[in-house]
């Protein structure tokens, strides 16, 4: 019934507007105007609006930059991330400059050259010199950007240091599991056909390298100042391991292993003391308290944490597939790791029987 009324209301409103416009049009044609003709007055008004819009656009974009700065990611907590941030800012300055210049030209010309009776446009069809300039200058600027960009890219994606610590991140709908390589720094073999309820990663108990592997859920710890080589696998669909605070990302693709390595530089404890982070967390906590109060519940204050997000659409709970990353001092990290038994220490090898292979429907 309500739906019906809503439809009726929509139809009646449309009819009403229709008649209103008709009335205006009739009135205007009675006065002898051609309503569709663009007059000099129209040109002048639109030209002024163009100029006004130019100021609003520049002010708005600049305001965005200033207003949202405190909400952005804090300083990069990885070595290569600092370089990425520098490169980003370098690009951004050039981009914003070009943006401002071109928009000013566009809207200023739109304002200045509005149509007036008796004025004639200047017949200019091309200008080789001008065109050469604006082909060559962007080419040079882009060449510089490419050189800087590729230098960083090559450094970031070069082979990991042979002494780096190996950690496997295993993605599935909708959580992450980490596997530490243990004392030998080598991951044991795994096979998806070996997956069982207790052997989430499909670890192969006949693989000697895997005997000391440690499997961890929910939270991983990594030591500060040491290069970590992450190896990514996926069990079901494509996921993407995204560590925004470390400026690191790599897709997890079923059927293959992908890699990304970085060196964390700031411990979680130190990051929590960073003035930018302190301020940001204060705002977040205020907002959370406010919301809780409105909803009549109590809310504990949260602390800053590094986080691992899934950044490739992977199903309905894609938005809630997270893992906490803790960067420890070397000593704290060792202490944490000591408390974690190897996978095969708690579950003796008994699960090598492959699971039944499913019929494909």
């Amino acid at each position: 019934m309500i739906k019906f009324l809503v439809y009726i209301a929509i139809i009646l409103t449309a009819l009403a507007i229709g008649y209103l416009v008709r009335v205006f049009e009739l009135a205007s044609s009675l006065k002898g105007n051609k309503p569709e003709e663009v007059t000099e007055k129209d040109n002048k008004l639109q030209a002024k609006l163009m100029l006004l819009f130019m100021f609003i656009l520049l002010a708005f974009t600049f305001w965005n930059l200033v207003e949202y700065a405190p909400k952005m990611l804090p300083v990069s907590a990885s070595e290569h991330g600092v370089e990425i941030d520098w490169l980003f800012n370098f690009n951004m300055i050039i981009i914003y400059f070009v943006f401002a210049i071109t928009q000013i030209f566009l809207f200023f010309f739109a304002f200045k050259y509005y149509g007036r009776k008796g004025r004639v446009a200047t017949f200019i069809a091309h200008d080789n010199k001008l065109e050469m300039i604006w082909t060559v200058i962007p080419a040079i600027v882009l060449a510089v950007l490419i050189i800087f960009g590729l230098q960083s890219w090559n450094k970031i994606t070069s082979d990991a240091n042979p002494n780096s610590m190996i950690v496997e991140l295993y993605a599935k709908q909708f959580d992450w599991t980490a596997r530490y390589a243990g004392a030998d720094n080598k991951l044991g073999k795994a096979n998806y056909r070996l997956i069982t309820a207790t052997n989430d990663l499909g670890m192969d108990s006949t693989s000697a390298e895997g005997m000391d592997d440690i499997v961890v859920k929910n939270e991983i710890h990594i030591p500060v100042g040491k290069e970590i080589e992450f190896k990514f696998r996926s069990r079901d669909v494509i996921h993407s391991a995204y560590f925004p605070h470390f400026r690191a990302q790599m897709n997890c693709v079923p059927g293959m292993t992908t890699m990304f390595h970085f060196t964390p530089t700031i411990t979680t404890a130190d990051m929590r003391k960073d003035p930018f982070v302190v301020k940001q967390m204060a705002e977040i906590n205020d907002l959370r308290q406010e919301k809780a109060k409105k909803e009549g519940r109590t809310e504990k204050a949260v602390e800053f944490d590094y986080i691992l997000l899934c950044n490739k659409i992977c199903g309905n709970s894609h938005y809630n597939m997270q893992m906490t990353v803790v960067v420890d001092t070397e000593a704290d990290y060792k202490k944490w790791l000591e408390g974690k038994p190897a996978f095969y220490a708690k579950a003796p090898a008994a699960e090598t029987k492959p699971t039944a292979v499913a019929e494909i429907k």
Partner: protein, 605 residues
Amino acid sequence: MSDNHGHHESHAHDSHGQHDEHHHEESFVSKYIFSMDHKTISRQFLITAVIMAFLAMMMSFLFRLQLAWPGEKFAIINFLLGDKWGKDGILDPGMYMALVTIHGTVMVFMVLTGGLSGTFSNLLIPYQIGARDMASGFLNMLSYWFFFLSSVIMLAAFFIETGPASGGWTVYPPLSALPQAMDGSKLGMTFWLVSMSLFIVSSLLGGLNYIVTVLNLRTKGMSMTRLPLTIWAFFVTAILGVLSFPVLLSAALLLIFDRSFGTSFYLSDIYIGGQALEQTGGSPILYEHLFWFLGHPEVYIIILPALGLTSEIISVNSRKPIFGYRAMIGSIMAIGFLSFIVWGHHMYMTGMNPFLGSVFVFTTLLIAIPSAVKAFNYITTLWKGNIRYTPAMLFAIGLVSTFISGGLTGIILADSALDINVHDTYFVVAHFHIVMGVSAILGMCAGVYHWFPKMFLRHMNKKLGYIHFWGTFISAYGVFFPMHFLGLAGVPRRYYSNSAFPMFDNLVDINVFITSFAILAALVQIVFLFNFFYSMFRGPKSEQNPWGANTLEWTTPMAHTHGNWPGALPTVHRWPYDYSKPGKDQDFVPQTVPLAEGEIDGGGH
């Protein structure tokens, strides 16, 4: 439609010989439904696209409500989606994904590919090159009906139990290949694949027709270097489509095989729903390569026609030749060529070889050069012009503005090192919406306002047009500019809610800001919808050449007749941009006017 009252009378008086067989009275069905006339087909495409665009916008409205106020109850969500997907007015996460997916698919393919090219290539190619119709009217008709069928199937998926496809508009397998992975990968995904396959057929039928028509049916004197830039844009677009859409069809076919026949093109080593699947040896990366081999040319298939329309509209309304006509053609061709060798920039983070990534960085940044040339040429066309602000002109200038803004952030995303941190975040969403979504929509609107008098023989209301432009333009920046900052704060795209962890709690106000502008944008489109349908029947009647334009479509009579020109086809004597040429008594010289003695064609004087 009232504009066709005089239709068959003018037929009877048709003087040119080759159309004698058309003297029989046409039935409603052959005139308006299964029509083979390019003008009718163009209007069919336009009206379908306008409706599809409106529906896709409604979808975005629903998920924007969820993003700004996650978990809050909205009667309209329950009203539109019912208890199954909008229980108590809260959007279901699966439905959220479906809305995002279908919004993207409909906008990219149905509106900005089928709708934009279908409308304006069909309308303008025969008109502006001086042809009686498309090379094959029958294929042209088929093209529309495949498109229509494809649109219906895409929307029909909302009415099946498991809902439409919901793996994002790129539908990457294995997510889209495995019905166990999500509801949207069940029957809905089959609908998506069938719909897209039909769409590709439609696009190929249309594209081949456009290419053949441009190459073979140009009237006397219409050399390639006298073609309006609109035609150049449609021509290159059609070539891109013909070369790249078959690759998408192959990607879709392999996906159909993987889904239904147990092959493993894209699947390998998967354990899902408590079972290890048998498929092994395939690679989802293969799909990504195939998809983006279409996907990247696709964004140019979207933007080039919009740029073509803009070139024409800016020149006509500045009363000035388009600046650098040959450079514009060169840019269109360069963009067309380069668009085939940049697809890998969508895949820097897939585990693709980093060296291959470097190559794509290089080619991608190259494509910025012809794009920059185009932008500079538009700006210079305005310089020293005598600008007439029709609503179309406003939209065209708006396109130049957003094309620059969105293009510039592309420099960040093209740079593989910088892409690491913004890949798949809202930064990407902001970038492509501005550079191809908003720009192409603005270009399409410009085209609609400008050629409405040709399509429906009436004018749209000017004042409502102004309101439509400013509302759309302001809200486009209001929606998409702040989105960059969500991305830079690390928010991934396609998240149902950002409240699952505290990290993004301070970004709620940005999302509320964005949604407010999105609602404004939606309201303003109602003004357009009204203006569009109202003016179609009741708008003030147009003159033959209301904008004082040079191109051939404005030399056709003010009735839609078969064969476009009642007598012989017009002969072309000059390029299309002789506006405000010194020594002429009016500020435009139609292409049909012979060159005066000693007059130089193509911009010299």
